[in-house]
């Protein structure tokens, strides 16, 4: 705690995981949020990518540690490593694809089964700029989200619609207390640091 005394405001680390079908736009949402960029052909993610971004909400500074996972079903067995200890999850589907919406629902069920009550879960209907090819109605997703206690937004990484808002909303909803894993990690590291410099 002593190390925090010097800091003007407390920075909370929050592990955030993105889950969803391949091609739903997980990496594009992250790229838009973190770098303000969009690539028409975003490289397919293998395994997972990791990025961070800091947001300020009122008096709090939240550093998101973002795990952007690969969408293909066969990577499923790796998923628990990424959502374990997460403070927030964004479940992404493509509004042009019912099957990606179905996949999103199965992610929601899986996360609910984990029984982490403090997990902030968001449902993002991405590619909302593609209205003419829409398969999933906003009302349908909205109703599903309400039923399951998620918060819902339609987003477009391409048109930069609701991306910052999505992450901001998550930051607002994060409980005041730091995420369960964060303090432990910081503490052990501080203890370990001097040991490294001595060893050889």
């Amino acid at each position: 705690m002593a190390s925090n005394a010097s800091a003007a405001s407390v920075t909370t680390q929050a592990k955030l995981v993105l889950l969803g079908d391949m091609g739903a736009g997980k990496s594009s949402l992250v790229l838009r949020f973190v770098k303000g960029q969009f690539h028409e052909y975003q490289e397919s993610t293998i395994g997972a990518a990791f990025l961070t971004q800091t947001v300020c909400v009122d008096d709090r500074t939240i550093k998101f540690e973002i795990w952007d996972t690969a969408g293909q079903e066969r990577y499923h067995s790796l998923a628990p490593m990424y959502y374990r200890g997460a403070a927030a999850a964004i479940i992404v589907y493509d509004i042009q694809s019912q099957s990606s919406f179905a996949r999103a629902k199965s992610w929601v069920r899986e996360l609910q089964k984990q029984g982490n009550a403090s997990l902030v879960m968001a449902l993002a209907g991405n590619k909302c700029d593609m209205e003419e090819k829409r398969e999933v109605q906003a009302e349908e997703a909205e109703a599903y989200a309400a039923e399951n206690g998620l918060f819902f937004m339609e987003t477009s990484a391409k048109a930069a619609v609701n991306v910052t808002e999505l992450f901001h909303e998550i930051a607002v909803k994060l409980p005041r207390a730091p995420a369960p894993t964060a303090p432990g990690v910081v503490l052990t590291n501080q203890n370990r640091a001097p040991k490294n410099s001595q060893c050889c």
């Binding site: 391949m22 091609g23 973190v34 770098k35 690539h39 052909y41 975003q42 490289e43 397919s44 993610t45 293998i46 395994g47 997972a48 990518a49 990791f50 990025l51 961070t52 971004q53 800091t54 550093k63 540690e65 690969a70 969408g71 293909q72 066969r74 990577y75 067995s77 790796l78 490593m81 990424y82 990690v185 052990t188 590291n189 370990r192 640091a193 490294n196 060893c199």
Partner: protein
Amino acid sequence: MFACCRRADDGGERGGRDDALRARLETNGTFHAPTGRTIATNDVGDAPETSRETTTDAYGFALDPDAVATREATRERREDEYWTRARGETTERTLIEAREARDPALKRATRRGVPMDLRCDAWFAASGARELMRMGPTEGYYEKLLLMRVDEKVVDQIELDLARTFPANARYERDANGVEGNDVLRRLLYAYARHNRKTGYCQGMNYIAAFLWLVMGDEEKAFWTFTALLDVVLPNDVHARDIKGTISQYKILHKLLDVNAPKVAKHLKELDVDLVMIASKWLLCLFVESFPATTAARVLDCITYEGEKVWFRVAIAMMKMYEAEILSCMSLPDVMLCLKHAYANQTDADALLTFAFERVSLANKTIANYRRIVEQKMYDEDLARTTRNP
């Protein structure tokens, strides 16, 4: 937050890039793969790497102009005389014969690097692809595969990834003959999905297949080399529907690290780092998405010739070469970024391979032994799980 430091013995040019990257990191607080795969401004085709003007390497991957170390270019030019002798119309046959005879000169020459113009023949011969093709189920097997139907879901997944594979590589987009990488990659992946229906398509394969084609330039030979790598050289369940082979490979890697790099292994345990979580692409993409293209090609020279053991050697070598940097990492994300950075900047393939072959001690028997233990444990856990939740 980023605790990865430059090695003391690095050359100045690399240091410059490292510093630039670190500066970028510190300002952004974020990290994006510095794989050099930004938009290439010119297509240099087969131009030698010696030119300081080039912005892409020989395989069409963008290079950071400040980072093109001249010493690498010099090394590329100094070809092992073995290759000079082997070059000619009978290269492929010569290589096959030498391989069958386990010619130590070929092994040595391969470890020093196969010249670019011989890579196609060398990989085709060394990986066992040529035998596979010769013993293939039918004459013209690849052509026949191209005519067969592919499962609709597999089609969708492949189509989704075509344009997302090396999107900034000018040569992949369109090679010197106007052939579009997407078309070739589609055929390669469809053909493999038909050839191996059980595996179908797994993300990661796209990068391997595209890379093989970029290097080899011959579609059918690339297909057979791809097939040999996935079916024979690597455990055949690396890309399986449950990627079980990938999961077991990383468990084996951790066991090997316990012995080969105990300090790193201990540190990884303390930080709760599971390498399959942060670096599954080393295997799923066979390093081609992690190393600079020229280094990845050198590693593949050796993997095709000597087998999957080289994969372990290289992975362990990197952990040992960057031991100090890894030990100074404070958290799991630090380790991930540190390794990503180390791999993306490993332009010195000679240093890597010398380390991997001379300073990593590894026996096939040890790997086989660990594989047996790991697979048995995974089987038992599976069994326990299904018994609990039938």
